[in-house]
Chain length 260, copies 2
C-alpha cells in the first residue's frame, strides 16, 4: 500500500499569479487534489465513500512556506496520513523543489459527512491503521483556534455564482481563499510574502448566497484575520495569515497590511 504519495507539478504561465508564483488558492486546490488522489489510490476516496452515502469534507488547512514555486518550476507535493480518530483524519504534506529541498509544509484536517443528513459519520470503518505514518515529520505548528477581532475593515460583498460550485453542490475552497486574498491590494503581494496561512471551514455555502468578507488584525500575534459570513452572520470560514517583507524577510504586522 502506498502510504506516502507524491505528485509533481509544473507551474505553467497560465497558472501563475501576478507575482509569477503559485497562487495560495491554487496551492490549496493542489493540496486537496493530492489528498484526493492518494485517498483514491488507497481506496478511501470519493467512490468508496459514495457507497456509504458519505463525502469527505475539509475542516482545516494550514500551510507554511519559505517561498512559493515560480513560473515553469517543477515542485512535488508529498502527502501521508498522520492519524485519525472516530471523527477526524489528519493528513500532512511536504512541498519540495526539484532538488528535493523542502520549501513548505501543510496540515489538513478532514471529516466525513453523510450526503443526506450532512452530519458527521464514523471514520473508523474506512481508516486502516496500516496507512498511518507516524515516522514522517510535518515541521510546522498545528492550526489553532481563530477568533475574529472586534475591530475590522468595512465588509465587501459577493454573491456566489454557478462557477463557484463544486461537485458536492457547495462553494469551492478555491473561491473562499480567493475572496480572502482579494481583501488586500495587489501591492501587498508584490512587496510581501504570505508565509503562513490557515483556514477553518465552518459552514457550506450555496449558489446564489450573498456573503460579506472582512479582515482585521490580532495584535497579540500580528496575524491578519479574515472571515466570510452570510448576510445573517453565519460564519462560512475564518482565516489567519502572516506576512514578511520580500526584501529582507522581516515580519509585517497585519495593521500595516490593512493600511496599504
Amino acid at each position: 500500500m502506498i502510504t506516502e504519495y507524491k505528485h509533481t507539478y509544473c507551474l505553467t504561465a497560465a497558472q501563475c499569479n501576478a507575482q509569477r508564483e503559485v497562487a495560495p488558492a491554487t496551492l490549496i486546490q493542489q493540496i486537496i487534489d493530492v489528498a484526493t488522489e492518494h485517498a483514491d489510490t488507497i481506496n478511501i476516496g470519493f467512490q468508496r465513500m459514495g457507497k456509504n452515502s458519505a463525502l469527505w469534507v475539509l475542516s482545516r488547512v494550514a500551510y507554511e512556506i519559505k517561498r512559493y514555486p515560480g513560473i515553469l518550476e517543477e515542485y512535488t507535493i508529498t502527502t501521508w496520513i498522520e492519524g485519525y480518530n472516530k471523527l477526524f483524519s489528519d493528513r500532512d504534506f511536504a512541498i519540495s523543489d526539484a532538488s528535493g529541498e523542502v520549501i513548505g509544509y501543510a496540515r489538513t484536517v478532514w471529516m466525513a459527512i453523510d450526503k443526506d443528513t450532512r452530519r458527521p459519520t464514523d471514520l473508523t470503518h474506512v481508516a486502516d491503521p496500516e496507512v498511518v505514518r507516524t515516522d514522517l515529520v510535518c515541521d510546522m505548528e498545528r492550526p489553532g483556534k481563530i477568533r475574529f477581532p472586534k475591530e475590522h475593515n468595512e465588509a465587501s460583498g459577493y454573491r456566489f455564482g454557478a462557477s463557484d460550485i463544486d461537485f458536492n453542490r457547495h462553494v469551492t475552497s478555491r473561491r473562499y481563499v480567493e475572496l480572502i486574498i482579494d481583501q488586500l491590494p495587489l501591492e501587498v503581494y508584490d512587496q510581501c510574502l504570505m508565509t503562513r496561512f490557515e483556514i477553518a471551514y465552518s459552514h457550506e455555502s450555496l449558489c446564489g448566497e450573498c456573503v460579506k468578507v472582512m479582515s482585521g488584525c490580532d495584535p497579540s500575534t500580528d496575524a491578519l484575520i479574515s472571515t466570510i459570513e452570510s448576510t445573517d452572520e453565519t460564519q462560512k470560514c475564518i482565516t489567519r495569515a502572516w506576512f514578511v517583507k520580500r526584501e529582507d524577510g522581516s515580519s509585517v504586522p497585519a495593521a500595516k497590511l490593512l493600511e496599504y
Copy 2:
C-alpha cells in the same frame, strides 16, 4: 519537431463543477495551458518571446463539444498550428476521450504584443512554416463577429481583485469566463448543455477595476450573447453561447435561458 502536441488530463473531484464535469473556464484554461506547453516545446513560448519584449495574448477562443469530460475521466487535448500571418496565429485543438473518440474541438486566435507599448508585434520572426499542420482537421465553424444586442438583462457588477490577476498583470481569461457563466443560474447548467462557446477579448483589465456583466439574446441565431464592460463602457470581452437540453438534445433559445 513536435507539430501535434497532446496532453492527457484526469478530472479530479476537486476540479469538477456542480454537474460533475469539467467547467468551461477550466476547459479554456487547459486549452491555454496546452497551447503554452506546445509553444514552449517548439521554442516560441514565454521565454523566447520575452527575449523580444513580447507577450502572447489570446484574441479569440471558440469550442464545440458533444459532452464535457466527467469526474475522474481521462481525456486528451491535442493541439496544432493551423496557420499564421504577420499578426495572427491560428491554433486548433481536438478533445478526445480515453477510447480516442473526439468529443470536441476548439479554435484559438493568438497575437503577440510588445510588453511596453502593448501594440501588436510582427509574428513572422517566430512563426516557422514547418510547424504548420494543414492536414489536421478541426471540424467546427470558425468564431464569428459578435455584436451585443440592444435588449439585455440588468448588469451585475464586479471588482477585480488580486486573485484575478495573471503573470502579465492583467485579469485572467478564467475569471472573464466565470463571470459570464455566472450570468445564468445553476439550474440552467443542470438542465442544459452549453455545446458551443465563443469568446473574443477586446481590452485587458487591471486589478481594482470595476466592471459590469450583462447578457442578451440574438434572435437570429438563438445564441446567448454576454459582455463584460468597464464602467466607462469599454468592452473587455464578448461571448456567444448555444445550449441544448440535456434530456433530449433539443436546442434551447437564449430567450428561454434568460427566463430561468
